[in-house]
Subunit: 203 residues, 2 copies
């Protein structure tokens, strides 16, 4: 079959663009044709931003978050509480917690969760290095902030078991009805959990 | 203010990605982090597909469609009816008409429609070259397939006026209720137009 595009170069560009998650062929075509309408320098800048990120980005030696230096700005900050580590799945989760402005401790980015179906085992994640951090640094509390999926729960449990010998306090973020969420429309599991884990009322 | 991303490289990449139309900051971050998880060669391939398209693509000398050669495969084909030219706004429209399999003539890609608000005048479009084609080639019919917007109508009229002296037949694609479309839910303008432009019933 002939290509459905009038040009092989266009075909290749659309194929590449539609390899991104959630970008279908039609959207890819629209994005590529948009790029094509921009000046050469802009397209060059677009392309080099992607390759530079891939080739030059570092992962923080301590917490494995994305960083421009060997140690990220959070780990190297003097204003962060180094006795608390929040364990998250990925880089976006760090940003989400940072955006709350409610957390001043450090992070540990696992790079995923244990998922045998996807072939992701504990060795593929930054769990070993987390245990090491707890053993060698003055860590008092590890906060688990992983997704509430089967994989997240498995990972929570795995980490918990490996941290137990160190005696560190292990907690997990509160799950419950969202602020402003209607009780009437909450799912049963969340509502059940929010009753079990009720907190003392303070006026 | 500090960047909201842990890395300047990431910041730049997200900014570039979100410059694409319809891609917000969150989606851009997701796409960029996806790229970051791919092998270097894949990111290289992605980036070079975009720059190669921009730097190496040609626009057909006759119809101004995207092409790998100086003259596109449609214009250079011996199986196309060279007496009919379908005028469209952009490359996607060529593909849409081609996909119907109902048209065997040539195209003429204007590269937009006349839109004074956006600063697009007739000189910014391939209208002059269309008139020239009609004057110098053996063209019998020009089919206007531009959008039914104020800008599309303006462009239609402008082209019509400039083609009139050549004596070529100028037609436009039929507008009406879509095949399978419910009359009950059709908008009044479309329904009105479909009654005005009714065609003879053939059993």
């Amino acid at each position: 079959m002939e290509s459905e595009y009038p040009s092989q170069l266009l075909d290749t560009a659309v194929q590449q663009m539609s390899s991104l998650p959630g970008i279908g062929k039609k959207t890819a075509l629209r994005l590529v044709l948009h790029l094509l309408r921009q000046p050469s320098e802009d397209v060059e800048r677009f392309a080099s931003a992607m390759t530079r990120l891939k080739n030059e980005v570092h992962y923080c030696r301590c917490c494995h978050n994305i960083s421009d230096q060997e140690v990220c700005s959070i780990c190297s900050s003097h204003r962060r509480d180094k006795r608390t580590i929040c364990v998250v799945e990925n880089v976006q989760d760090v940003m989400a917690v940072e955006n709350t402005g409610q957390y001043s401790g450090l992070y540990h980015v696992l790079g995923g969760v244990i998922s045998p179906i996807d072939g992701v085992g504990p060795k593929d994640l930054q769990i070993e290095s987390l245990v090491q951090r707890v053993q060698t640094e003055d860590v008092q509390e590890v906060i688990l902030a992983l997704p509430t999926t089967m994989e997240g729960d498995t990972t929570n449990f795995y980490i918990y078991r490996h941290l137990q010998p160190t005696g560190v306090k292990v907690s997990q973020i509160a799950r419950g009805i969202a602020i402003g969420g209607e009780i009437e429309y909450a799912d049963e599991i969340t509502l059940g959990r929010s009753i079990q884990n009720r907190t003392e009322f303070r006026a």
